[in-house]
């Protein structure tokens, strides 16, 4: 096998396959985790019947969705209706192409394998661009269903996702300024060389940035308390009311993948990606960044997965916690919050960050 083939075809394809497989598995268990955590917060037990403590519950659900009869209602706009689930899930998956899951590397033959599919130097821009494509799927689904509740849901989500894109972008801008690069790998490395996460960056910790990013991310992914597009108590199921079976599963999948994506980005942008949690103690850094020193780069990669996964899990836990706690905003209140609070806050945040950078340079 030629090295070129290995470097440009085999390794990337294998990486993509691993990422997608891992994502699907994570989503399946994220759903279970959500049900279990909600159950725990609501003094219930959650699913327990399928498998040990319900571990196979979502697997069974997936099988059910796969084998369900695929119904296309007669009154829909067929082409757009069929296209919508695809349009919504592709950007969600494609976004993971630039996420650095871990540091370290190992060699297969002469080719070095890293824990990211590609390191694009405009990674952040790519992410912002590709994730905002997701809204098309929602609007298409709402519109093509040719039914009133989905249409209201589609319109709501179009407005919501477009408005929350702005504060999301603004909080990312300050990270860009701090890191001086748009490459996600570069951002993590900048935090590594700075010796602290951007969340604790001095003199202006990016706590407000994290808050803006996280809340906008929740709004982007249509989760409680911002789940208006699919507010089941008002709009039955929102934009995917008319979908069933596999097509519905795509929407469901996309929502959870997007949740994971927000988790990954929060980890990369604010929590230093795969960097270990050292509590600022310098001596801890070496042993904590590689649990398996005898495996060299591969050990560092595995350790990085652990830290990265932990951070993502914490973000996702927050998601689920919020879901069990908060009521839902109303549409106009959501818009007001986005435009009148978050965007000004985001702009102010960018300015303060810029000033802080000036101060730091002296």
């Amino acid at each position: 096998m030629s090295e070129t083939l290995l470097r440009f075809v085999v390794v990337p394809v294998a990486q993509i396959a691993v990422v997608i497989a891992a994502l699907l598995l994570i989503v399946v268990y994220l759903v279970l985790l959500e049900r279990k955590i909600n159950a725990f917060m609501q003094v219930r037990l959650g699913p327990r019947r399928v498998g040990w403590h319900g571990l196979l519950q979502t697997v069974a659900d997936v099988i059910k969705l796969f084998t369900k009869e695929d119904i296309t209602p007669r009154h829909v706009d067929r082409l757009v209706f069929l296209l919508a689930p695809v349009v919504i899930i592709l950007p969600a998956l494609a976004a993971f192409a630039v996420i650095p899951f871990s540091g370290g590397s190992f060699r297969v033959g002469s080719v070095g394998v890293r824990a990211w599919i590609s390191d694009v130097n405009v990674g952040l821009l790519y992410l912002l661009a590709i994730t905002s494509l997701g809204v098309f799927g929602v609007v298409m689904a709402g519109w093509s269903s040719n039914s009133k509740y989905p249409m209201l849901g589609g319109l709501r989500s179009a407005a919501q996702m477009v408005s929350y894109e702005v504060p999301l972008g603004l909080s990312v801008v300050s990270i860009l300024m701090l890191a001086g690069t748009a490459s996600l790998v570069g951002i993590v490395q900048a935090q590594e060389s700075a010796g602290r996460w951007f969340l604790f960056w001095t003199p202006y910790p990016q706590i407000l940035g994290l808050f803006l990013y996280f809340v906008s991310g929740v709004a982007e992914t249509n989760r409680l308390p911002f789940d208006l597009p699919e507010a089941e108590n008002e709009l039955v199921a929102g934009f995917h009311t008319e979908y069933s079976g596999m097509k519905f599963a795509f929407f469901f999948l996309a929502e959870y993948i997007n949740m994971v994506l927000v988790g990954c980005l929060v980890a990369v942008l604010f929590f230093g990606g795969w960097l270990p949690v050292t509590f600022g103690i310098p001596g801890l850094r070496e042993p904590l960044s590689n649990f398996f020193p005898f495996w060299g780069g591969a050990g560092a990669m595995l350790t990085g997965f652990f830290w990265f996964g932990l951070k993502v899990f914490l973000v996702l836990f927050l998601y689920l916690w919020m879901r069990a706690t908060y009521p839902r905003y109303r549409y106009d209140q959501l818009m007001r919050l986005g435009w009148k609070v978050f965007i000004p806050l985001g702009l102010g945040h960018v300015m303060v960050t810029a000033l802080a950078i000036l101060v730091r340079r002296g």
């Binding site: 119904i71 296309t72 209602p73 007669r74």
Partner: protein
């Protein structure tokens, strides 16, 4: 009834039952006094039962009486607790229906009942201008008894389907419905219709 074949002797007139006496005892009512002073000519009859005055009012005076009871500072019957029809066919024959208004004064803590008699097919003036809440009650009375209310803003059936052609709380409507009401909602096209899919 045929009197010739009637073998049972006519029962002697019943002695007044003390309990019944007590039930029918008149009770003081400020609202009724005020009404008597102001609109005494509208009152056709007053009876008492369980301590509540039951006032029979002329059909065309009901709105006037209702408005007086609501707006008069002495009675203040602000709450129209209930409005319903009664099919009187088994109790007195004609006129067939009574419309019964139960009024409550939330701050005077008094109740009063008004009654209006109406024959089949007759109309009663609507009290919706006095209490907005009479709207659905009157629709229900129309639905259940076929009593029409003149001046009602939206007199449609409320509980029964709109294409229903009888008034089910009338005494001549059988409890289990008529033969043709069974399977009322089934339509011939339901048998062959296959919805949702091509």
């Amino acid at each position: 009834m045929d009197d010739v074949d009637n073998k049972t002797p006519i029962p002697p007139p019943k002695k007044a039952d003390p309990v019944e006496e007590a039930l029918r005892a008149p009770a003081p009512s400020r609202a009724l006094d005020r009404l008597g002073e102001a609109l005494g000519d509208a009152i056709e009859d007053v009876a008492y039962h369980c301590g509540v005055p039951i006032v029979r009012v002329g059909r065309d005076r009901i709105v006037e009486v209702a408005r007086f009871l609501k707006e008069d500072s002495g009675s203040r019957m602000l709450l129209l607790a209930d409005l319903c029809g009664v099919d009187m066919i088994g109790l007195r024959g004609a006129p067939r229906f009574d419309v019964v208004y139960h009024l409550t004064g939330p701050d005077t803590r008094e109740r009063i009942t008004l009654k209006v008699a109406v024959e089949e097919g007759g109309e009663v003036p609507s009290v919706t201008p006095v209490w907005r809440g009479a709207n659905w009650h009157e629709r229900e009375a129309f639905d259940m008894f076929g009593i029409r209310f003149a001046g009602h803003p939206d007199l449609r059936r409320i509980l029964m389907p709109e294409e229903f052609d009888a008034h089910p709380l009338r005494k001549d409507f059988p409890l289990e419905g008529r033969e043709k009401d069974h399977g009322f909602w089934r339509r011939p096209e339901d048998e062959t219709r296959n919805t949702y899919r091509d």
